[in-house]
Symmetry: C2
Subunit: 219 residues, 2 copies
DNA sequence: ACTATTTTTTAGGTTTGTCTAAACCTTAAT
DNA sequence: ATTAAGGTTTAGACAAACCTAAAAAATAGT
């Protein structure tokens, strides 16, 4: 089955919101898509007819198995393009989201197959998020934010929670990226901020808010 | 100014038809786009308001300078993507058109800049058609079909007129592609067929119909 | 338990791009 | 010069995806 750009955007957004809350609300989805609740309700009806949703009026909704699989396929496309834009075209990792958002809707499965192959089947995108395989399987890695990680222990950055322009600029300034090795020297209990040492760079202080958004591999 | 996918498709198709006939008719454009004449008229009004057309009711139309520049930009995007699909992802040249048709509408100029750079600023697409530069300049190369080229003279294949799967198969079988060096040994005036020698391969015979579709650089 | 507030849905309207059918021009043939 | 044929435009409708405003349902506060 084939989906419009709009339908795909709704499916993808529902998928994202489901990661945080089990069932999604009309308002939150409208907010995510910068659209109005009434428009969301309209689209929910369509997606329900297409059998992608579990949906009861006034009671929230979630993707069913079919919907989930489609969402994962869109996520796969998006993340492969992001990887391509950064590793091949030399984009900064905080600039690729909008472009990948357009590229992900190009609907040739052969294209994505060949792209995946060309990129040597990457496991994660430039933000550290895992890339689902053809069957929609996610290779989930155990992660912990550096707000929780033990001090004085070298860890490797695996992903970043908040992918806004502002956050990524802050990280660039502190020489932190996916794959960076760092160590939490100490944490200030007063405000939750932490002094961290990035490999080959001077120590720096990051706020609790930032610490909560930097994830590292957990062994 | 930004254009919808539909507008871009109309602009591109008008541009293509203009290559053959100076002024384009409603019916021919409807035919090209697999749409109805009435729909064409509707869109023409829009494009005229946006100042991209020279258009007089019932008298045909053509792109003005602005329209032409936009068309060349779309062509540029399309051909760069085709080049990418063939040289990087390993597609056959007869499979890339439909996919490039979708990719060409992704509207980031930075993306196309970086893609061009990554591909080392190719001058022609996989079919041998020239790729316009950022300013919409076409580096047109003088070409001659091998039905007209002098015999016993080494020439380099620059482009192919008919880009069907069948033609590609025939050319592949005879080891002919863009950039191939070949020589016409002799031509049979009876049916216009020609014996040709492809560099490093045995001689072969091609019909006049094929010969008329293989173009070579003309010095 | 009953209001007040918030959330969600419905009803009805707009825009874009398409369509069919009918009306309208142009051209070419007698 | 008239008409027949063909191409082109207009008129009116429709679907998709959005909107605002109002109604309906759920929830929260007392």
């Amino acid at each position: 089955m084939n989906f419009s750009v709009s339908e795909e955007n709704y499916i993808k957004s529902i998928y994202h919101l489901q990661q945080q809350t089990d069932t999604v609300t009309t308002n939150s989805l409208a907010n995510e898509l910068h659209t109005r609740p009434a428009s969301v309700t309209d689209m929910l009806k369509k997606l329900q007819i297409k059998q992608l949703l579990e949906y009861e009026k006034y009671k929230g909704f979630r993707l069913n198995a079919t919907g989930n699989k489609i969402a994962l396929n869109i996520v796969r496309r998006h993340r492969l393009w992001e990887y391509f834009l950064v590793t091949k075209l030399g984009f900064e990792w905080d600039k690729v989201h909008a472009i990948a958002e357009e590229l992900e809707h190009v609907s040739s499965t052969e294209l994505i197959q060949k792209l995946d192959n060309y990129l040597n089947n990457p496991q994660t995108d430039p933000h550290g998020d895992p890339i689902p395989d053809i069957n929609g399987k996610l290779h989930v890695i155990k992660q912990v934010s550096i707000a929780e990680v033990p001090v004085k222990k070298n860890v490797v950055v695996s992903s970043v929670g908040n992918q806004s322009r502002e956050m990524l600029e802050l990280l660039n300034h502190n020489n932190i990226g996916i794959g960076t090795t760092l160590k939490v020297n100490l944490r200030f209990t007063f405000d939750g901020s932490a002094e961290i040492k990035v490999l080959k760079h001077a120590t720096c202080i990051i706020s609790e808010q930032v610490a909560k958004n930097i994830f590292v591999y957990h062994d």
